[in-house]
Symmetry: C4
Subunit: 215 residues, 4 copies
């Protein structure tokens, strides 16, 4: 079997893993909105309708939280695949397990938005974030150890930067989750702040932001 | 790190942003139909069933409205990416925020179809259109300022044409929304007319339609 | 603006239309299954559960019908894009209107499965097929007239074959729909037979099947 | 019609079949989570909420089962397309029938999770697996017989390995299903074990794992 053909087809396979992943992320993101239910019934004035709209605010907050969580993991996934040049069956299955955890976010987000004043809901949401972080961490370590990275691009610095990103993010999420023992809203607020930090790249060190730039 | 590799991978990333976006648009479009509920129960004659079908008409109107709104923003998004050659983490996140707003359309469309005789429902729908317009506008300005466009293609004329398109469209949408103070149906009718105008490209000036041609 | 760049980007755009379309088709197909509801409640024996499963049969029939209808239009869409080399804003919007009609199939299929003994349900389903056929027909004629086809491939024979396919199929669907004045189940059976004929390519003339081969 | 053009367009078509398939798989996977309903109502303590969460465990088990089943068939599908170089209308329709069966998994998985103590539910789930296996088997045999494979890559060994994989997997699934006559939970446990075996590639013979490696 000629090398050239193998690379061609292996590359094709990476495109399919990415297509499946983009599909799962897009659907999980869009399903979040189904949790914001349009208020039904007869309304006799504008103010009555506005009064029925107001209680949806925690749902919008959960939507924002869920969308950003999925956005962060999608960016992390896309960043890894910028450096992954080949795939094998183990990496494929690590990816499927990662997607299995990602697909649970519409549930854990819905659970949180419904029971936001309970520590158990915070814990469940944190568990989902933790499992997603664990899955993407193992995915990266395996890809490196199995020699599936593009050698020209994936330097030791890149490897460390992506590895550390996951560890630091998970530490911050754990801290945010633990704040639920003081107040659950504080915990959600801190989680959203951590995510906004990642999304807006406010407090990154110079070296990290260089890798980020190539993201 | 060789330039060639960087371009290759950065290009791959653009394809992933586009894949995620196409997925979100496709799902948001298709979810709209879930709002048109099949009338249930026992029907004893054709005319009884037809009588139960008739009240679905506002739902079909909302479906048409929602699909065209999403169609217009999808065309706008695809047009920008015709000229975008590179991406960075900020553009990626501006795109995710844009998708966050796009994913809200099934909700705001459903809200409008349920409460079409209320100014608040018109206002909410307009707010969604405004936020989507704002997000796609910032996306474009940032891509230009950060030098992420294909320099050979994206002339000053293209930059202005796309920028003006958003501003003119948003002015028309605002006008349509304000008509709700006369009558909410008038407001919806005017919004659909604005959209049909964009979809059918009836009254475009020659210069604009040249850019459109390349769309 | 160099020709080469224009072709590159125009091609990219076709890939986005195809991505959006594949997404809409995939979701519409998969949403059909949501209409087959798992029987709920307490069941005390295998035979009780089987008895509750049996009434789902018309739903499975509707699922089969809906999936094949979508499959046929997807094949038709993909076949056209085999010959389409360029796109413009009109073709893009004709495509969005086509998807708007395609996205209605989960509704019209659900309506039919719920009210299969009513001529109105047959008529509604036929209307959806007719509108989809009309949209794909106009799409093809426009692509030809506007010179958007690959000139090397899209010979006069190909043009005619695709055009005639739509007309013959629509004639058969209309005949099937009209059978509802005798019996609505007969009408559904005939529609499924027409579709199986297209899917399995049983009775095609030699010339048509040559084009089909390239499909 | 020049050969080169034909290959170019035929290849494009394969990419569309893959896009449609990835979409259907991604949606079917993500829809599984909609079956895990967030417990609603007023809860007065953490322990009350936890007590309401506990009964969801069979739903999570069904989610795991359904996701792995879809993962296995997705890997099988992607593996076949690594070796498929051309397509014709028959292969396209065999693929659509395969997707028709795949889209039923959210239903059969939901049915199983709701009625896990009934042999009929096991039988229905097994029937879905069997039909999916049958469809992917016919798909592969047809692709080989019709000469649609990449001749350089798809050796006789590859052909046999993929063929045998389906037959062995289906034998194991049938065995697992038959265990329901002893106990339905035993049957589900055995199915999950078979799937974990395929996912983790624990007990593969050397020759099989070579092909798997290229997967």
């Amino acid at each position: 079997m000629p090398r050239h053909d193998y690379n061609f087809f292996a590359g094709q396979r990476i495109s399919r893993i990415e297509a499946l992943s983009d599909g799962v992320f897009a659907i999980a993101m869009t399903l979040l909105v189904l949790d914001i239910k349009v208020p039904m019934g007869e309304f006799h004035s504008e103010s009555e309708l506005i009064a029925a709209f107001w209680p949806l605010m925690p749902k919008f907050l959960a939507y924002l939280l869920g969308f950003m969580t999925l956005g962060i993991f999608w960016v992390g996934h896309a960043t890894q695949f910028k450096f992954i040049a080949r795939t094998d069956r183990h990496l494929t299955w690590l990816n499927i397990f990662f997607l299995l955890v990602i697909s649970l976010f519409p549930f854990s987000t819905g659970f949180l938005s419904e029971h936001i004043h309970f520590k158990f809901a915070i814990g469940l949401y944190w568990l989902n974030i933790f499992l997603a972080g664990l899955a993407i961490y193992i995915h990266w370590i395996y890809a490196c150890k199995a020699g599936l990275l593009n050698e020209g691009m994936a330097t030791e610095e890149v490897f460390k930067a992506i590895q550390n990103r996951v560890i630091i993010a998970q530490s911050l999420y754990l801290t945010a989750a633990l704040l639920c023992f003081i107040n659950t809203y504080l915990s959600v607020a801190m989680t959203i702040l951590v995510q906004l930090n990642y999304a807006l790249a406010l407090f990154f060190s110079a070296k990290e932001s260089e890798v980020a730039e190539e993201e």
